[in-house]
């Protein structure tokens, strides 16, 4: 028995911004869901099930908000699942939705990821005291900066590679109307001179904190064939997790990341990712993670990922492998949606519907999300043609 072919029929996004005070949580989600349905030319009643994902409930202070959202998402009388796999959740949520179709349990599924960080306080949410454990109160940047230092010393990457990634992604964001950060006048020098937050991570090399939602409608082969708009066919899906803390763990290049990538490329029949993939959306919350993931995923040789940044390979302006044409997590970060945005942007590229940040003639693209202490991974490959 083989899996049912699955397609992305529609994508919907909200404008990402620090505070969406004009809408409730339900209003925010509905905005993205409605746009995805519109793109798929479908009505709420044609949806069989809903899969929703978001990062910790503490980020809004609402426990299991999908219960309250059932009506707003048109889920009453239908199945609704709520996924939570740390930062990778947006990606994992899309993959759970895809599995409902691949398994032939459903034909059309609405999937949505959101975060409305302005409803609560992320620092509070992440700093709740726990018995028998000392909090270092350093935030995610404090957690990842030593790992980045380790990468820099292993690879011998020049100090300013991170700034180059940040500057490139902010330039890309100017072409994406949904991006949170639109820094028209930003110069490379300003990125370099921005305050050092967690050495080697500067303020301009970190992601913002955003409100926003991203939704997709997925469908089976028949609905993909019948769709009015171009669809993106799923060529491979994979999830991997590994424990956070044990001796010998490679935190720079986790085995779970390597195995997840190997799995998804194998499914898609891809042996040379750099040549065969046209555009990539990877989860880069801190600039240095672009070269780090490019190596881990197999787009670059070990210790050479930074060269793809340096020589402009990852730039939308003429690079061989444009990375994060949407502006990436560095330009918009509604955490629970951030992974799904990567997956959705990958789909938009192969549908030829990415607007000003479209990579001309993109046929195959790669969507990626990670979470926890770089231990949860979700990936997919989508193409303009059926696998």
């Amino acid at each position: 028995m083989s899996a049912e072919l699955t397609a992305v029929l529609g994508v919907g996004q909200t404008k990402y911004s620090s505070t969406r005070g004009d809408v409730s949580i339900a209003g925010l989600c509905r905005e993205a869901a409605y746009r995805a349905l519109e793109d798929a030319c479908l009505d709420w009643k044609e949806i069989d099930a809903v899969v929703i994902g978001k990062a910790p409930d503490f980020f809004e202070g609402v426990m299991m908000p999908e219960l309250y959202l059932a009506e707003a998402l048109g889920a009453v009388g239908k199945p609704i699942l709520r996924v939570h796999t740390a930062g990778s959740v947006g990606g994992s949520t899309a993959l759970v939705a895809a599995s409902l179709i691949q398994s032939r349990v459903h034909e059309k599924v609405l999937t949505i990821g959101f975060e409305k960080q302005s409803e609560s306080n992320a620092t509070w949410a992440l700093s709740l005291p726990q018995p028998f454990s000392v909090s270092i109160n350093a935030g995610a940047g404090g957690y990842f900066s030593p790992i980045i230092r380790q990468y820099m010393s292993r690879s011998g990457a020049p100090e300013l590679i991170g700034c180059m990634v940040a500057f490139k992604d902010r330039q890309h964001a100017l072409k994406n109307p949904y991006a949170h950060l639109h820094q028209n006048d930003l110069t490379f020098e300003e990125v370099v001179e921005s305050p050092m937050l967690w050495d080697p991570i500067r303020y301009s090399e970190t992601c913002p904190s955003s409100d926003g939602a991203c939704a997709m409608v997925l469908g089976n082969e028949v609905s993909g064939d019948r769709a009015d708009n171009p669809v993106a066919w799923i060529h491979g899906t994979a999830m991997r997790s590994e424990s956070n803390n044990f001796p010998g763990r490679d935190e720079v290049n986790p085995l779970a990341s390597r195995q997840c990538a190997a799995d998804v490329f194998k499914q898609a029949g891809i042996t040379n990712p750099l040549k065969e993939i046209d555009v990539v959306e990877i989860y880069v919350p801190f600039s240095w993670y672009e070269p780090m993931w490019l190596e881990s995923l197999g787009f670059a040789e070990l210790d050479h990922g930074w060269r793809l940044v340096e020589d402009g390979t990852t730039s939308l302006s003429g690079g061989e492998l444009p990375v994060n044409c949407s502006g990436g997590v560095l330009s918009s970060n509604p955490i629970g949606a951030s992974g799904m945005i990567r997956f959705a942007e990958a789909a938009l590229q192969v549908r030829g519907m990415a607007g000003d940040h479209q990579v001309e003639g993109a046929k195959k693209s790669f969507g990626h999300a990670y979470g926890g202490g770089a231990q949860y991974f979700a990936m997919w490959i989508v193409g303009s043609e059926k696998p």
């Binding site: 409930d57 309250y68 009388g77 199945p79 609704i80 709520r82 996924v83 599995s99 956070n244």
Partner: protein, 375 residues
């Protein structure tokens, strides 16, 4: 009334259609279970609890984590009082080499559903499912109040038992139940739970009079009408087709599984029923005449009565032989434990066909039904 009847008829027709469809699904069965519940789990954290249960569940059928194709868990950050709490519990699995894994912020029964879906794709043959909760670490009524509509209801901090009491009051006032009937349910739970080491509130010889003389805690509910909050967890292993037969002498085959949700808004719902519970059972193909047992998940005696009605359970069916959630209610695991209870009675050969149910949300808002069979 007529309209309601008609829509139920339509749903039944739809359910039968779905049942036939269900039969074309890949055969997947529960092949191993392990669970533990106790009033307060002191000096043991969630990781230690689950490390024990997961090992027990794997070891009893001689399976290692490397042989498990997919792992899925259910838990709640709000219950644990910590963001990303499930990340720590991953250590209880032993997730290295890396595993194919997912997590739902839902009762473990829904994690089992996700694993069942994964097995349907046909790429893997085994799945580990687990969930856990330690409500003793906090105040469950305060925790659950944060689950309500954040703009219009949660700011009033209504507690879950008060909402369930409104539901019971409606049943009484509409003549759909009596105090005596509710106490009979409470008595059934305490009697049945007596032989279950995981049941917390049990008694062999409590009388109906004793129960009806208990103090009213949240009018109209008495102490024994309300579920006994407990700490605990549960692990289950699923396997498909021949793999299931090779791992277990008598697997508990999943004949149908489905879940549905109702509106969250209490004001628009008829709280004397649970349409989503009815629909999930229909879609799962309950065939109530042939149910030897049912494990239903209610937070109050009145909710068990609503569920019995929605599932059309008759005297032929043994209900909550474990004592049910009334005897020991572990948020995030109570639903998965219901599935484990039905499965273990089928695997032991004691029973042939059963219904397991899980619920979530205020007043039976979201419901999952799983039909298990020995053949």
């Amino acid at each position: 009334m007529n309209l309601q009847f008609l829509s139920k008829k339509l749903v039944i027709a739809h359910g039968i259609e779905q049942m036939n469809k269900t039969n074309s699904f890949r055969d997947v069965a529960v092949v191993s279970v392990a669970s533990h519940q106790t009033k307060i789990l002191s000096e043991v954290n969630e990781v230690q609890l689950m490390a024990n249960l997961i090992s027990k569940c794997r070891n009893s059928i001689g399976v290692t984590q490397e042989e498990i194709g997919f792992t899925c868990s259910g838990s709640s950050d709000f219950l644990a009082g910590q963001a990303f709490s499930f990340v720590h519990t991953l250590d209880s699995v032993g997730a290295f080499p890396p595993i194919s894994e997912s997590h739902v912020e839902m009762d473990g029964a829904f994690a089992l559903y996700e694993a069942w879906v994964k097995l349907q794709i046909g790429e893997v043959d085994t799945a580990l499912v687990y969930s856990y909760g330690k409500p003793s670490a906090g105040s469950i009524i305060d925790v659950l109040a944060t689950q309500l509509d954040p703009y219009y209801v949660a700011p009033l901090w209504p507690d879950c038992f008060s909402l369930a009491a409104l539901q019971a009051r409606l049943l009484l006032e509409k003549g759909l139940t009596t105090f005596e009937r509710m106490s009979e349910i409470a008595m059934r739970s305490q009697n049945n739970g007596f032989d279950n080491p995981n049941a917390v509130r049990t008694s062999k010889d409590i009388s109906l009079e004793n129960l009806m003389n208990e103090p009213v805690i949240v009018d109209p509910l008495r102490t024994s009408d309300i579920s006994e909050i407990a700490d605990g967890g549960c692990a289950v292993i699923l396997a498909a087709e021949d793999k299931a037969k090779s791992l277990c002498e008598r697997p508990a085959w999943i004949k149908g599984i489905d879940h549905r949700i109702d509106s969250h808004s209490l004001g628009v719902r008829d709280l004397t029923g649970s349409p989503s519970a009815f629909l999930a059972a229909e879609k799962a193909g309950r065939n109530s005449d042939r149910l030897d047992l049912a494990e239903i998940h209610g937070m109050t005696s009145a909710q068990e009565l609503i569920l019995e009605k929605e599932f059309s359970l008759s005297e032929k069916t043994h209900i909550n032989l474990s004592g049910g959630a009334l005897a020991a209610d572990t948020m995030m695991a109570s639903g998965l434990i219901r599935i484990a209870e039905v499965a273990s009675r089928i695997m032991s050969g004691q029973m042939d066909r059963g219904l397991a149910h899980a619920t979530s949300g205020p007043c039976l808002q979201q419901n999952l039904v799983c039909i298990l069979e020995g053949k």
